[in-house]
Symmetry: D2
Subunit: 323 residues, 4 copies
C-alpha cells in the first residue's frame, strides 16, 4: 500500500456542503461512528430533538407518521428494525441551546455485523462504488459500503433538521413526497408494485417531488449560484439520485413558449419569485438485489427512504443561501 | 434609490465558477463589455484562437460546421448576423501563450440598440428575470436583459474553450448534440418543427445530450462533490435549463434493478469509472415570443445555441475537478 | 516550452481576495491593462470617483494632500509623473451607481517602455520575484516585473475605495500613516533620511501604522478567522511587507501580564471589542537600487506608497468580514 | 435568549482552516469533547501515533524531550499534570492507515471541574474573550473559556502531526523554538525569568522562531496567497499571538536595500525560493494572573506551550498549499 499524496490530483475539499451554513460529514458505515460538524448555526436556537428523532425514523423506515405506512413497509428492509440511530452531541450545544460555535455530533454504529460483508473485501458489487473507491484511493473500508453506504445520509438528516428549524423561523416550509414508483403514479398502488418486485428478488426506482413555500423573493444568485443550480447540486449529491428537474422540467418538453410562460416553478433568472418552488428527483432501483445473489439487507425501493434526505438537503441548500 | 448593504443577506460570492479552475464572469448585455477572468490555467498553453472563434460562432448561431445548419437556421434569430464577438485579451497571455497568471478577456458590446429595449425600463417580461432582479437589487440594467441576458454565456464559451484544450491534453473529449425539439426526436425533422412554431409567433424547448469520453477513473468526490452533482450544478446554471439527468435518468424510471445495473452512466458512487459519461439537459422554450407582443430579436428554440454552452460548462466543471 | 498542467500541484484559486466581498485581480505591468472584478458590492451605491482619483494619486506618489508632501517627494520616483491611472469601468455600474452585479474595471498600461526592461528577459534581479516566477511557471512576462510589479496594487486601491465607502456607511473609518523610516521615528526628519539614502543610490524601509475606528463589536471569527488573522493575511499580501503586529505586538515584548492587560488593541479572542484597532506593518527597502546597477525607475522608500495600499487592504478585509 | 439568525451578519464559515488540506475544529473546553475533522488527507498513510502522543505532551507541558525541561517547568501550570489528552479516532482510519476519507477524532474533556469556573458565569476576565463572545453570540459556554480556551489547540496539534508526516514524505522539516522571554534572549536564563514573574503572581510574553527547510521552489501564490501571507494567517490565528514577521522583519528596519537584499527569508514575491524559511511570532503574557485575583490554573509564559502549536499551524498551512 502506498501513500497517494504524490500521485493523486483530487485533493479538493470534498466532505463539506455549503460555505455559510456548512455541514462537514464523516464516518464509515461499519467504523466507530458516522457524524458531522455544523458550522454557521446561529446562537440561541433550542434544538428540536423530537424532530430529529422523527426524521431519523423516517430515514430508517420506521416512521409511524407515514401516510402510507402499511404500503411502504414492503419497500423497507429488515435493517430498519435494528437501526436505533442515537445522536450524541459533542459540542456547540449547552442545555439543548446552540452556542454559535460548531455543532459536532455522532451516531455510533452499533449494528456492526462484519460477517455479512466479509465477502466484499475481495469483491466489487455491480452498480455500487466498491470498485471506483478502490481505484481512487487504493484502499477502502469494504465493510458494508464503508464511506459510500447510504448510512452517511443519517448525518445529513440531523443537520437538515436544524436547517429546517432555522427556515421555519423565516416562514419557509419544505415538504417532499414519493410521487412515482416505476411507472406507477397512483400512491395507492405503490405498496403493491414494491411487493411484486421484492417477490421477484428485484428492485424498482422512484420519483420524489419536493415543494418549498415561503422562500423570500430575491433568494438565489443570478449567474452560477442560481437557486435551481444549488438545489440540483444538493439533490444529485444523494446516493442513487439520477436526475433533477423543476418548473416545466423534462415533462414539459412538449410545451410551447406561450404555454410554458404560465409555469414559473418559483424561480426566474435563478432568483426566487415568491411563489412555491417545486422540483423532482429520480432515484434508480437499488443495485443490491437478491436475484443477483447479493447478500445483506436491502430495500426494494430506496426512493422511500430518500424522501427525508431530499428535504434535509433542500433545507441545507436554502439555509446556506440565506445564512 | 438606497444602498442594499444594510438590508440584503445574499452577499455571497456569486459570479465565479469553480475553486481550482476558476471562471469569474462579468458584464451586462448592453453595457461597455461582457467578459471574464480565468484563474488556475497552467502556464505554457498556446491558446487555440480558431477554436474560440468557432465556438463563439456556434453560440451565436452562425456556425458553418453545424451538421444540420440549414435546418437550424430557422431557430436562430437575426441577432446572430450582427454579433461579431471579438475577444480582447487583457492579461495572462503573452504572444498567445498562457503565463499561469489570471487571464482576463472582454467582448465589447458593439450592437447596442437601446431603443429596442427602452420599453423594458418600466415593464417586466413574463418568464424573464426582469422582476426578480428588480426585487433583489432595487435597481437593474434594463437594457436587453442586462446581466440576465444570455449574452453572458459568450464569456463561458471562451473560458470553456481553454478548459477543453486542457482536457484534450489529458485525452478527454466532450461532445453535445440537440437530440429532441418539443416531442420530436428525429433530427431530420427539427428544422420543420422549429419553422412551424416560429410561424405561429411561438417558441419550443429542446433536449441536449452530452457525452464525455476519457475521464480518468477516480475523478469526482464521493460525498457532496459527486461528479454528477458538479455537472448538474454546471448545467442548471445555464439560462433556460430546467432539468438534468444521467445514466438511467428520468427515462429509465420503469427499469428494475436487474436492468438498471447494466447502465453505468460512467459514474459509480460519484466517481468516474472510466466508461463514457452521458447526461441530458432540458431547455424550456424562450419566453420572449412575438405572439405575446414581445419586441426584440429572439430565437424560436434556444436549445440550439445552448449546445456549445453545455460543452463549455462541462469542460469547466471537469477542469475544476482535475485542475 | 511545455504546459505545466501535468507537473504542477499549485493550481489553487490564487488571484482573489475574500469570499463575500471578493476582489479578483488581474494584469501584468506592461501588458494591455491591469484591473479587477469586485463581486459582492451591494446595489445602489454611488461610487465616489473623486475618492478613487485621490487614492490612486496617493499610491502613485502625486498626492497633493500628503501632510508632508515636500518631505516625501524625495522618496518617490520619477515614475509617478508619468502614471495617470485612468479607471475604465466595464460592468456593474450604470450612471455611476452600482447594480449589485460584478464590477469590472481596468487601468490601461499607457507607459510601456519595454526598452527599459529588455535586459530583464535573460536576467533575474536580486530581491525580486523574477527567478521564482520563472521556476514556478516556466515562463514569465519579464517586462517591468510583469505580474509581480507593484503596479498590481493600483487595482487594490480602486477596490479598497469602494470598500471604504461601504464601511463609512457603517461608521467605520480607516487611517494609515508612515511612522518610521529606517530607525527614524520623527516624521519631520523622514524627508532628510530618504534623500540621504537616495543620494547613496540606496533605499530604506519603513513602518506604516493603521488605525480603524467604529468596527462593530462582534466582528471577526473566534478560531481561525480571527480579526487579527484576516488583517495580517491582507497586509502580508502586499509587496515588500515583512511583518505585522497589533496590540502589544513586538514592541511590547518586555511587558508583564499586569501591564499588557491594559492594552486591548481593539480585539479580544479574535473579536472586535469596539475600541480602536491599531496595527503596524513593516516594509523592507526596495531591492532595486542604483548602487547595484539596476536600471529603471525606483522609489527610495516604498513604504510611502504602501500607505494607501494598507488602507485599501484593511478596508477589503473588513468589508469581507461584514459583507 | 433569542436566536441571532435575524440579527447577525457574521455567519461565515469560521471553524475550518485550509481549502485543500482542511481542518475543521470543534469543541468547548469543558463540554463533552474537543476534536476535529481532517479532509484532504491522502489514502495509505500510516498515522504515527507516537508522534501525536509526543506533540500533545509538548503542548500540555509534559514533554520529556524539551532541551530545557527543567527551566521551562516553572512556566507551565499544574494543569499539565492532569491533562491526558487521549485521542479517539472516529473515522477515516482503518487499522491505523488513512482511507482518503475524512478523519474525525475527539479528545474527551476528562478534567471538568466546573466549580473552578462558576464565578465566570457572571464575570468577564480582562484580556480574555469572555465579553466579546457574550456580545457576539448573546450566549457562551462560560466554563473555563469554553470555545475560546487554549485547549482548542490540542486538536490543531493532532492535525498538525498528520500534516508533518505528509510534509516529511516530501522532505520538508519544521522546527520551532522559544527564542525570547520578555527582554531575555539567552535560553539559559529563560527559567529564571519565568520563575521571577511567577513569584510576583504575574506573567510574561515570549517570541517563537520557526524554521522550515525543504519547501519546494514555487510553493506559494504570488498575489494574495503569498507564502508569507498564508503563514501569517496561520500564526495570527493562535491564541495570544500578537505579531508575525519573516526575513528582515521588524528587527531589520534599520537596514538599507544594499544590506536587506542579502536576506531572502526563503521567499521572493510570495514564492518559496528553496532556501530555509524563517519566521517569528510574538506571544503576549497570559492575561489570567494571580496578582489580579484570577482563580484557575495558569501558565506564567504561554509562549512555551505555543511552540508545538506554531509548528502544527505551519505544517497545516504548507500542506494546504502543497496538497
Amino acid at each position: 500500500m502506498h501513500c497517494h499524496f504524490f500521485t493523486t490530483k483530487w485533493l479538493i475539499k470534498m466532505n463539506s456542503f455549503g460555505n455559510r451554513f456548512v455541514f462537514t460529514s464523516f464516518g464509515e458505515s461499519h467504523g466507530r461512528a458516522i457524524g458531522g460538524v455544523l458550522d454557521g448555526v446561529p446562537a440561541g436556537l433550542t434544538i428540536d430533538m423530537s424532530l430529529i428523532r422523527r426524521e431519523l425514523d423516517r430515514r430508517s423506515g420506521r416512521s409511524s407518521e407515514s401516510p402510507a405506512k402499511e404500503n411502504f413497509a414492503a419497500g423497507v428492509s429488515q435493517r430498519a428494525k435494528r437501526e436505533t440511530d442515537e445522536v450524541e452531541w459533542l459540542s456547540g450545544v449547552m442545555d439543548g441551546v446552540t452556542l454559535g460555535t460548531p455543532i459536532a455530533f455522532i451516531i455510533r454504529n452499533q449494528d456492526a455485523r462484519p460477517e455479512d460483508y466479509e465477502w466484499l473485501q475481495h469483491n466489487y458489487r455491480a452498480g455500487h462504488a466498491d470498485w471506483t473507491y478502490q481505484q481512487k484511493y487504493g484502499i477502502r473500508d469494504w465493510r458494508g459500503g464503508g464511506r459510500a453506504s447510504a448510512r452517511e445520509t443519517a448525518g445529513r438528516v440531523v443537520a437538515g433538521c436544524i436547517a429546517k428549524q432555522l427556515l421555519r423561523l423565516k416562514g419557509i416550509q419544505i415538504h417532499a413526497d414519493l410521487v412515482q414508483v416505476g411507472n406507477e403514479t397512483d400512491p395507492n398502488r405503490f405498496g403493491e408494485v414494491i411487493r411484486t418486485v421484492q417477490t421477484e428478488g428485484d428492485s424498482i426506482g422512484g420519483i420524489v417531488r419536493c415543494t418549498i413555500t415561503g422562500v423570500p423573493i430575491g433568494t438565489g444568485e443570478p449567474i452560477f449560484n442560481k437557486l435551481q443550480a444549488e438545489l440540483a447540486f444538493a439533490m444529485m449529491s444523494i446516493n442513487a439520485c439520477k436526475g433533477f428537474d423543476y418548473g416545466t422540467g423534462f415533462e414539459g418538453i412538449g410545451l410551447k413558449g406561450s404555454e410554458a410562460n404560465l409555469i414559473s416553478g418559483g424561480i426566474a433568472g435563478g432568483i426566487a419569485d415568491g411563489s412555491p418552488i417545486t422540483f423532482r428527483c429520480v432515484f434508480k432501483p437499488t443495485p443490491s438485489i437478491a436475484k443477483m445473489g447479493v447478500k445483506g439487507r436491502h430495500d426494494a425501493c430506496v426512493a422511500i427512504r430518500a424522501v427525508p434526505v431530499v428535504e434535509a438537503m433542500a433545507a441545507m441548500a436554502l439555509s446556506n443561501l440565506l445564512g
